[in-house]
């Protein structure tokens, strides 16, 4: 039970954060739909939120929570596929550009990654729609395709048309995140490769692959996790853009429609839920830290200071 204080600290801190987020949401609600806040005080709003009642959407006349949860699978699948693309490509490419930094292909990759970081999703997305959907007719331009229902969860990942539809938005999203990770992995690896333990390993005659993967990549995981948790916010923001562009029926486009329709109640509910998601993600990141580097485990009381420092 030695980690109880940390857990308590997290719970208290998290609750305060969510509460603040809910206050901010109330303020947004007041801006968009003052007629709701006229009859609903901040206290009542927070109280309702605490009981899981995020109000009724002014457009759909259904509970906001229900509407948002119904749209969540679409967004979740998009985020998962995007993350998969990033993870599956960033690792080998990052490794490659670090191992052979002077190779022509590696240099082209670095140049492209700079382009990828600089171009916003709405531009790459539009260009992709133009090229792959309009000009080449390879991929559908919008929507989620056929979905099958697994209980309350609608999934497009089990149909051909579902995959055809998800490729473009997921690729467009990953194009901005991939270069970040690629560059990060490359930088970390280059640094590690010049460290003493690696030199020792080389001197001992350990095979290069073993050194790269075991000593290099492993040391690069922590910064990658940090980056992943930081980029979660970016991903949420870009999902809004990609969902609008590709008419993806997820939470992001729901939010955008909420803004356009002036559905303050829905917008505020979305903001609260996103803040909870952020909080959960941050905590998961900390747990992941501990798993990849036991020295940083939050449940290890005696190294508490080190962990603070490293954050």
């Amino acid at each position: 039970m030695s980690y109880l204080p940390q857990v308590l600290q997290r719970i208290v801190g998290g609750s305060i954060t969510v509460c603040l987020a809910a206050c901010a949401s109330y303020w947004v609600l007041n801006l968009i739909s003052p007629n709701i806040t006229d009859t609903l005080s901040l206290g009542q709003y927070l109280g309702n939120a605490l009981h899981g009642d995020l109000g009724l959407s002014q457009f759909y006349h259904l509970p906001n929570l229900q509407i948002i949860l119904a749209k969540l699978p679409a967004t979740f699948e998009l985020v998962i596929v995007t993350s998969l693309i990033v993870a599956l490509l960033a690792l080998p490419l990052g490794l490659y550009t670090a191992i052979a930094p002077h190779n022509k292909l590696a240099q082209w990759l670095m140049a492209f990654s700079l382009l990828g970081i600089s171009l916003p999703v709405f531009l790459t997305g539009t260009l992709m729609v133009y090229l792959f959907a309009v000009e080449l007719n390879w991929l559908p331009a919008f929507g989620r395709g056929e979905v099958i229902w697994v209980g309350p969860w609608s999934s497009g990942l089990f149909t051909v048309s579902g995959w055809q539809h998800i490729i473009m938005p997921a690729t467009a999203l990953s194009l901005t995140l991939l270069p970040l990770f690629l560059r990060l992995i490359r930088a970390e690896l280059l640094q590690v490769m010049h460290s003493n333990p690696v030199r020792l390993a080389q001197a001992m005659g350990i095979t290069p692959w073993r050194i790269w993967l075991r000593y290099g990549l492993r040391n690069a995981t922590l910064p990658m996790i940090t980056m992943a948790s930081l980029q979660f916010g970016t991903l949420m923001a870009y999902t809004l853009v990609a969902e609008t562009l590709f008419q993806w029926p997820g939470v992001g486009s729901l939010f955008m429609q909420g803004i356009i329709r002036g559905d303050g109640s829905l917008v505020a509910a979305y903001l609260i839920l996103v803040s909870i998601m952020f909080l959960m993600f941050n905590n998961l990141t900390d747990i992941a830290y501990g798993m990849f580097n036991p020295r940083l485990a939050p449940w290890r009381e005696r190294l508490h200071k080190t962990r603070r420092h490293s954050q």
Partner: protein, 527 residues
């Protein structure tokens, strides 16, 4: 992980990628199935919940009206095989025999009577059906519609009377609410269940995502050559995405099409753009209640003279609009050909001087930014044009969700308004936009300018009772003449309609001037 392991892993990745691309190339095949995208889906299946273009387009698929407008703007019978005027106040409709609703209930005159009574209680539609006092059932297939006063446009109203299944909507749903309740955005039984006589049956509906319809197997209209078997309606809010999806071959038909995409679609082989003059008037209301200056006739005239609406129609709308000098578009009873757009900057300046406002003044202005084609751009152009006669305009544009609330409050000195006549007749414009505001009768409901001229009121009211076509036309033309002289509002243009489709679909053959496509009559060829 060894080098070999990495190879294997990459190999697997390649196989997955190959599978994905192979499946992409497999393509689509549909048999007489029409995939349509529009900007937003109607909130309800109930034809009387929301008064909007999308709602009536949908109503024509699921239900049938008594009579309807043909594509060349004449009346033709639908559920009524024939009709004739008995006197000033009565029209007799003879209904089709042997028609059944989707529920299996037969269509009778009682359904017509019930549907009319229900429509008269709808907040959005009661103003339209207000002139009809009641329906009298003569026998199972004969019904009279009766107005309180002599009324010329009874047939026009009958085109919006969709007949619903009175037995199907009896009783209460699982929430103990009446099945026939009309509750705006209330998710009532009628808003989620449809039983009509229409050409299509609802097979699947996911609000905001898609609507599937399939052709009713024994639809009564055997004369129709239409061969569309099923329809998939998809709301795509973003107009660029809509156009891209059509060009990508994911869709067969889209509307509306923004002017900026017209050239692109026209140029593309295998694509077809259809445009036609529409009847929606875009105008500016000059609020005489909020500004004393605007009560001065010369100032209002100066504003009308200063706004180059021909320029707006050709440059901003790219020719996708007809510049207007009056309310009634060509072809309407009240249209007076001599009332043309009147841009004259010199005259506008001298009128301002004459009125004593040579140094100008400030006005506030609001316009929507997602309601009409290029609405915000038009508003910005107006700001620049009015600056030339020293009127400094402070413009705020906003989404339509907030706009109408602001408009109803009279929230600015200049306000943009688009209007499509509900009855396809000139009088409707004046009843809502030009007559003196009267909360009780509902006249002047959207008269944001608070313009009030008893002579206009008298003429419009008289025209409603005048069943002699020629006399009525003269009255309505006189109204337009007065409004023109009084500069009651700033006419900008009549917005055109645009649909785009893949070739093999000629939407123009089934599209009415109200922008309602009779999709049941559409003959589609395979590409």
């Amino acid at each position: 992980m060894t080098l070999f392991g990495l190879h294997k892993w990459l190999g697997n990745l390649l196989i997955v990628l190959a599978c994905v691309f192979a499946s992409i190339l497999s393509g689509y095949s549909y048999a007489n199935s029409l995939r349509i995208a529009y900007d937003a889906d109607p909130v309800s299946l109930d034809p009387y919940e929301q008064l909007s273009g999308g709602s009536s387009q949908q109503a024509h698929l699921l239900y049938d009206p008594l009579i309807r407008w043909t594509t060349d703007h004449k009346l033709e019978g639908r559920l009524a095989t024939s009709w004739h005027r008995l006197d000033d106040r009565k029209v007799r409709f003879n209904l089709l025999q042997g028609v059944k609703f989707i529920s299996g209930n037969p269509l009778t005159a009682l359904d017509v009577k019930w549907s009319l009574q229900r429509a008269k209680t709808s907040p959005d539609f009661k103003a339209i059906f207000q002139p009809i006092s009641h329906a009298r059932v003569i026998d199972a297939h004969t019904v009279d519609l009766i107005t309180e006063q002599p009324y010329a446009l009874l047939e026009n109203i009958a085109t919006t009377l969709f007949v619903m299944d009175s037995q199907f909507y009896q009783g209460f749903d699982e929430h103990q609410k009446a099945k026939d309740a009309i509750e705006k955005h209330g998710h009532s039984f009628a808003s989620n269940h449809a039983s009509g006589t229409g050409p299509f049956v609802l097979t699947h509906r996911q609000q905001g995502v898609e609507l599937h319809l399939s052709r009713q197997a024994n639809y009564w209209d055997h004369a129709s050559a239409g061969n569309v078997n099923d329809i998939k309606l998809i709301p795509i809010h973003d107009s660029a995405t809509r156009s891209a999806a059509l060009l990508a071959g994911d869709l067969d038909l889209i509307a509306p099409v923004p002017p900026i995409d017209h050239y692109r679609i026209n140029k593309q082989a295998g694509m077809h753009l259809f445009t036609r003059a529409g009847a929606r008037l875009i105008s500016l209301q000059m609020n005489q209640q909020s500004r004393l200056e605007l009560r001065d006739l010369r100032v209002r005239q100066a504003i009308v003279y200063a706004i180059n609406n021909k320029g707006i129609a050709s440059k901003i709308m790219r020719g996708f609009a007809t510049p207007a000098g009056q309310q009634s578009p060509p072809g309407y009873a009240g249209h007076l050909p001599k009332l043309t757009p009147r841009y004259n900057l010199q005259l506008a300046k001298s009128l301002m001087l004459e009125a004593g406002y040579g140094n100008g003044f400030k006005l506030s202005m609001i316009a929507p930014n997602n309601r009409y084609v290029n609405d915000a751009k038009i508003a910005q152009a107006v700001v620049i044009m009015l600056a030339k006669i020293n009127i400094e305009v402070e413009l705020i544009t906003m989404p339509k969700a907030q706009y109408w609330q602001k408009y109803d409050q009279g929230g600015a000195d200049l306000m943009m308004l688009g209007w499509h006549s509900d009855t396809e007749d000139s009088a409707n414009f004046s009843e809502f936009l030009a007559m003196c505001r009267n909360a009780k009768s509902g006249y002047g409901r959207y008269n944001g300018g608070h313009y009030c001229n008893p002579e206009v009121d008298r003429l419009v009211m008289a025209s409603a009772k005048q069943t002699d076509g020629l006399k009525r036309t003269q009255m309505l033309q006189q109204v337009e003449q007065i409004l023109y002289q009084d500069a009651a509002f700033v006419p900008l243009h009549w917005q055109h309609l645009a649909w785009a489709s893949r070739s093999g679909i000629d939407i123009g053959k089934v599209l009415t001037v109200m922008n309602i496509p009779y999709l049941a009559d559409l003959v589609m060829d395979h590409p």
